[in-house]
């Protein structure tokens, strides 16, 4: 599990762990709590090109269907098969085993810091 203060965030309640030109992406614990029991996760195909801010997948809970937005422009290099098979990982370990996808990018857009995101969700 990543150190939350080391991560960057989006206003769509996603976290991004940057490692070189790769972004590891998941949804925040706050988002997972708000969604409730996650029952289904749909992720983009590996190799697909994604544009920052566009919908690339879905996270469905017993209460609602949340959309997954790409945080960066780039290419999907890996998706988390374990979370597709066991969507409850999003609830049990949103910052770790519940990660969703890896995207390679050329330019990192402005993202929120931990303190900025914490202020956004009022925590």
């Amino acid at each position: 599990m990543a150190d939350k203060s080391e991560l960057q965030y989006t206003a769509e309640h996603e976290w991004v762990l940057v490692d070189g030109d790769t972004a590891l992406v998941g949804i925040t614990g706050y988002a997972a709590d708000k969604l409730g029991d996650v029952v289904f996760v749909e992720l983009p195909a590996v190799g697909s090109t994604v544009a920052a801010g566009t919908v690339v997948g879905e996270i469905e809970s017993t209460k609602s269907v949340g959309e997954l937005f790409a945080p960066v422009n780039g290419t999907v290099t890996e998706t988390n098969d374990a979370v597709v098979d066991s969507p409850e990982l999003v609830n049990s370990d949103p910052f770790g085993a519940g990660w969703l996808l890896k995207v390679t990018f050329t330019e990192l857009p402005a993202l929120l810091s931990y303190s900025e995101y914490s202020a956004l969700v009022g925590e």
Binding site: V39, F40, E60, T62, K63, S64, V65, P87
Partner: protein, 965 residues
Amino acid sequence: MSQPFTQRHIGTDADAQSRMLATLGYDSVGDLVNAAVPETIHVDRFRTVGDSTLPPAATEREAIEELRELADRNTVKRSMIGLGYYDTITPAVIKRNVFENPSWYTAYTPYQPEISQGRLEALINFQTMVADLTGLATANASMLDEATAVVEGMLLTRRASKSASHRFIVDADAMPQTHALLTSRAAALGIELAIVDLQADTTAAELGDHFGIFVQYPAASGRVWNPAGVIAAAQSQGALAVVAADLLALTLITSPGELGADVAVGTSQRFGVPMGFGGPHAGYMAVRKGLERQLPGRLVGVSVDAAGHPAYRLSLQVREQHIRRDKATSNICTAQVLLAVMAGMYAVYHGPDGLKKIATAVHETAGRLVAALRSAGLDVAGDTFFDTVRVSVPSRAAEIVARAAGAGVNLYQVDSDLVGIAVDETTTARDLTVVLGAFGGLDAFGAVDLTAATPGLPDGLARTSAYLGHPVFNTHRSETSMMRYLKRLADFDYALDRGMIPLGSCTMKLNAATEMEAVSWPEFGGLHPFAPREDVEGYLELVRQLETWLTDVTGYDTVSLQPNAGSQGELAGLLAIRGYHHANGDADRTVCLIPSSAHGTNAASAVLAGMRVVVVACDDLGNVDLVDLRAKIAEHAGTLSALMITYPSTHGVYEHEVGTICRAVHDAGGQVYVDGANLNALLGFARYGDFGGDVSHLNLHKTFCIPHGGGGPGVGPVAAKAHLAPFLPGHPMAQSDEHYLHSALGDTVVHGGGPVSAAPYGSPSILPISWAYVRMMGADGLREATGAAVLAANYVAKRLEAHYPVLYAGDNGLVAHECILDLRPLTAATGVSVDDVAKRLVDYGFHAPTMSFPVSGTLMIEPTESEDLVEIDRFVEAMISIKAEADAVAAGSWPADDNPLHNAPHTAQSVIEGEWTHPYDRETAVYPLRSLIRGKYWPPVRRIDNAYGDRNLVCACPPPEAFAD
């Protein structure tokens, strides 16, 4: 002299009402409602006094006699028209124990699964039947009819296809009503339809680019062909294939799934559901694996309860429009549950062998017809058929169809040269003789040789895969067994015949037996939707009267009864607004303003009418925020199409400023759509048309007593001012395109828009219910019902306000016909959730109120006018008692995770089996009130795990071993 019907329909008598009024501090019901309804919108009853077209109230006997006269003006001939509607034999055991049984028809949509296991099982039987016969992985719990199911199939393929094309290919040999519906629905969504004469060898290149393709199987002409090649050609370029298939034919021919289809749609009408002049009956939709989450409508799945036992529930509900709003898969809310239950039970009763026998007999009868026609020298088109053939009779078609009608058989005149003939399970040798006679094909003795049968199914397309292997389809062959199965399932459920169903926004009022009576009459049930006009004069008169009365009570000028549900009425109304703007050269007016408090269906319907949704904020009191409304109107001044506003609001409040709101929209060139879902709180006191509405849909299954049927049928008429009449739904096959127009403006008007239902009058066979209700209530009775409903809701709010805060109120602190109890403070203080209270009510013998709609963490209660004070008080006492239990949890008397609320509902098994380890006793668990001992409703399952069911999606009958302990 019999008791006036109003006193049968309204549960509270004068004595009870005066006690309730005393609680509220009002002298009369009229004073109460006049204090609640803003004075600016008051009317005195309906049209100006003396001008009402509503006749004085009839007694129950008089109403039945009038309905009998109307029925006698219908002529039931043998229908051989086909086109997706076939005469069928409703097994009497199903007619008596389902169709005419309030345990089935007065139940609500199974949103509370613990008390709905019977109809959920019946629906999963239906789903299993459809999935098996179509050869696809997952079927939903029914669609409104075949033509709308095809439209939904088109929309599904557009969502799921990766193709960027806007083209949808339509089989030229599809049902004419389906063509008409696709045309009108595609236009609003920017979909280009391409009608193609599909053949087995049509290539991908010939199809061109497209996102989806639709094939009718067997074709409308009767032709049976193998579309596998066309389906593969479509899929090779990223399109998805929708096949409309005849369920009975599928017992003999290869299933769409095995031919590669992604989606199958159709109707189950011929599985024991009367034609009813067009409906209601259950359409269906099934999809291949991987598309489950794209299915519109309702889907029953299997989950587990708190004890780990299998239990049914509605799956994937979050994709429905009430949650996803403008992003929903569809605007469809309701299914056709009662009719799906009947069709599923038809398969249960006949089993796979019985269905195959029926199909084989139908096919052989058609084969005998073909042989006889050919031996008489007639030109039967094509070599393949299942049950339908076309005969080429150059320029003689009209004459032959007329001759057959004269002899009591309706045929289908395709054009001046072609006659269509469809055979069904009721067709007799005598019918064939009449048909041959009409064609001049009888021998010198007036007889015909029917011994030979021409086979019509093509080689290589015979069905080889098994279907309906589940034991439920292979057990109930005797009537005794069937009767007991139906009784067992009915006993699992909580319907209005057990007690109050206080569901806010759902209006579970009485469905009186007299209202239901005529629905079973063959004169209303036995007519084909495209029967000639002279056969349906009684129906047309009934429709005309109902249209007249509904315009009167709403203040509009004309009404279309065609929409098969409220959602379809919304769509029809919005399409009318769209048509109006287009006709005025205002095609840019596409913005639809919708308050945040609106039902999600509003947004979903707007999207399907080609509009863009802009949300208007609500203030802290739940009313439309006028400042935000004016800002949004200004922002979209040139593109404003409409405002959709529900009145009284979804918060159960009469918004004070509704007149101002309507004027602001009109001043900006927009139209006002008033969602009539809550009309039952206004009838007789105010009218939509008077305070600014241009168009509204009504829910006959709410305000006008059509039973909920466990989640359908519905009827959602659309009522409008005269300027929208040319754009209301018409139908190319309607017996009459003229509709009532308010007499000050003329007498009739043509509804010139495209259809929104497969049949011209939607679901006419249940219209006698609403007709009878209005006829027996009269203007005064309808107003009294409104008053009694508003009184009951305010009484409940008043009695419970000391225990649960009431969330919203309007003028003078009053609610309308329903009240919202805010459970969020209770949850914060005690951990007891809305679910806990709702499920605990089951232990007290009640159906839960509406949960978390329109506000999360609340319960919305609507007692309706039909409940008597004893039942209302019983409910109030149960709610007070539950609050005391929650307080005991808060006080630490019971642990938060082990108390009667957390563990509710309690089954008999849960209190009998094993050692009792809970900190409360078993009597508290199941008999919290001593009065329950003799009249206990026992839920068959404990609380159901929603997440498990959605993570492990199973939507077909589980094997019997799953239920073994």
